[in-house]
């Protein structure tokens, strides 16, 4: 397991370095002229860092949510957080708002994500704790409502506004800029620290609330902390680069196939693999049909889904011999 972990980390670092070199213009980091240096430092490096942060946050969020909801189909977007972010971001894009300058869309998206997270959390709360089933149903309900409103808004909007909104909804890292990274990094780091701090509690929650309590955890408190962690990571991710699908749902499963389900290992490796996958997908998306860009969310699914299906065929994760 340690060997596989090491290879995964080495592979991810290599992919990230390769992503810096690859693009419409090939850049050799050891032999750069001033233009190449500008492209590398001002455009590609922030974009690679952003993709690593977003992919890592989505991978970790998926792993945590699948645990607290005890549902293998859970992903960071099932709680409706992405729909809330998308609704407000699209509203900003369609109205052409510049209320917060360069940060307008990320701020709109972050506010949408946080408000939705609070609303879903309030609806999932009953008798002193968060109930997985209530949380899930509240998230699905809110998600459908906001998606419908989004579609309604887009169908009434101008062509240019709608094109930009669609790009953003499928994951658009073209906005990557150094100014976005520090705030995203801090929020994702806080979420990740909370998740790793409560990883044992998450393992225990997966055995059921009664057993988690018997092992010395307060299931209600554990779920609140982990829900907060997922909310922070998802809100930060979706506000920086839109809604990137697949990573939060399937990356944790792929890692489970390789190293098992202990969240103390699963969460950090989902960060590594999620980051590497989004970084690779974004590199392909911005080079495959350059100068046009393909949305990262589509590439992640095209790359990851066949590998996941292959693993599903090869491995026997739930012991269904």
């Amino acid at each position: 397991m340690k060997k596989q972990t090491l290879w995964m980390i080495i592979g991810s670092v290599c992919l990230a370095v390769l992503s810096l070199c690859v693009g419409p213009k090939w850049i050799n980091p050891l032999q750069m002229d001033e233009v190449s240096r500008q492209i590398l430092l001002s455009i590609r490096l922030p974009r690679v860092i952003l993709s690593l942060l977003m992919g890592g946050a989505l991978g970790a969020s998926g792993a945590v949510l699948q645990g607290i909801l005890r549902n293998p189909l859970a992903d960071p977007y099932i709680l409706g957080i992405s729909s809330g972010a998308a609704l407000l971001a699209a509203l900003g894009l369609l109205l052409g708002s510049t209320a917060f300058g360069f940060f307008t869309i990320p701020v709109f998206a972050f506010v949408g994500a946080v408000l939705t997270g609070i609303a879903v959390g309030a609806m999932g709360y009953r008798r002193g704790g968060l109930w997985p089933e209530r949380l899930l149903l509240a998230g699905v309900g809110v998600g459908f409502l906001f998606s419908s409103l989004l579609m309604l808004m887009m169908s009434l909007s101008s062509d240019e506004g709608m094109r930009r909104a669609i790009l953003w909804i499928f994951g658009d890292l073209a906005m990557a800029d150094w100014s976005l990274i520090p705030y995203g990094f801090v929020l994702i780091l806080i979420g990740l620290i909370l998740s790793l701090w409560r990883a044992k509690g998450l393992n225990a929650l997966m055995l059921g609330d009664d057993i988690a309590h018997s092992l010395g955890f307060n299931p209600g408190r554990e779920r609140w902390i982990l829900f907060l962690a997922v909310g922070l990571m998802t809100a930060a991710s979706v506000s920086m680069g839109g809604v990137v699908g697949f990573i939060g749902l399937l990356v944790p499963h792929i890692i489970r196939f390789v190293v098992g389900s202990d969240n103390r290992v699963l969460i950090p490796l989902s960060v590594v693999a999620g980051g590497a996958l989004l970084c690779t997908a974004d590199t392909i998306g911005r080079t495959a049909v350059a100068p046009m860009e393909l949305p990262s969310g589509i590439i992640t699914a095209v790359l990851g889904a066949p590998y996941f299906l292959y693993l599903l065929k090869q491995k026997d994760i739930l012991g269904e011999s």
Partner: protein, 255 residues
Amino acid sequence: MLDLSNVSFSYNGDPAIDNLCLSVESGEFIGLIGANGSGKSTILKLAAGTLRPGAGEITLWGKAIHHYRDRDRAKLVSYLPQMLDVHVPFRVNELVRMGLYPYDIPPDLTPDEAVATVGLADKGDSLIGELSGGERRRAFLAMTLLQGAGILLLDEPLANLDIRFQIELMRLLKDLRHQKHISIVMALHDINLAFQFDKVYVVKEGRIITEGRPLETITRDLLREAFDVDVMIYHHENGTVSFGFERMEDKNGLR
């Protein structure tokens, strides 16, 4: 060690436990017997601190159980519910090691010893979903043993097990009680196994209707009261006890 004094509890206003008193002493092997829905599981959850009583007091070593920190309580009492999730995505070794979660410094028993104690030494790398019902229950029991608490609260641990696994698990628990000096409180509705306990509490509608040594406590009248059925009890010369009831007629009057 563990005392429930005049405890009452209700689910959303529906009374489930009424003025119940129960005490567990060191090394005791106690059975909670009663019909389905009589309140056995609720009593165990109250004793584990999972539920808070509406009235009365539950103390663990003289201190109210809800005044313990969660981790400290977990070192003293552990609880295994009746329903164990089949789809837990862990391997046996991973699951058993979770028994160490309440500790910074692990207790004497090692995970390998705990797995070996329940007879699953060769299944350590198996996924929980691959195990039979009996093996799965023993895997969870190994986790509970590793937790090292002096009191085990087990809710219907023999449910859905065939007679061989029932006897094996019962023997294992009795051995553990002697080896580790732990107290075990077990809920069950199968009266055939009631005579294995040191002491039984008979529960009906959230109240304890009687308690005592099984041979003296379990009578035909008591079973009629607790289960609302007429069952004969036969005490054999070799010390065993069996139960019998009339052969029933089908709708055509055939036996």
